[in-house]
Subunit: 100 residues, 2 copies
């Protein structure tokens, strides 16, 4: 399993609307994609406009090819894109170790 | 529960040694701290010197006060600090939503 980690910074003061939009987009669009395994949405304490979105995929290509080249990607960006203050920074990770 | 998210960049070519050191430090030092709830260590695919360390704490102060002001913090940094190419960037998050 692969972790997609997306650094998101939104426009100030739009947290409440974005909280609804990102969960809607994940549930209605992303979660139906091939290889989708789950998500977590984290909100910054020190930086209230900062969100860290974690999406778990079976393979790297499930995100970079199957999702990004699908119509679902456009639908997702239509929902969450207007909130972005800058393009999200996205990279992928493998799990080295965990305790839980 | 609070997520501590630490962005770590290590010196090139030291991945194997750092993989052992960070797990050792987490198991032998951090996991015995007050309010510790768990950890995950993630290794970058696109950026092989990048690690994202997630530590879950009961409260923010369990990390920022109880851990950082303890001798355990020095012990932890003695184990992992020599690998750091730059000071880690650390912030804290609350969980907005998750699917798993």
């Amino acid at each position: 399993m692969i972790l997609e980690l997306a650094e998101i910074h939104i426009h100030p003061g739009q947290q409440n609307e974005f909280d609804l939009a990102i969960v809607q987009g994940l549930k209605e669009v992303v979660s139906h994609s091939k290889g989708f395994c789950g998500y977590k949405v984290n909100k910054g304490i020190e930086s209230p406009e900062r969100y860290v979105l974690m999406i778990f995929w079976e393979t790297l290509e499930n995100h970079t090819v199957d999702f990004r080249e699908s119509e679902a990607f456009s639908a997702w960006r239509t929902i969450v894109g207007p909130f972005f203050a800058a393009p999200p920074v996205v990279e992928h990770f493998t799990l080295l170790d965990k305790s839980i």
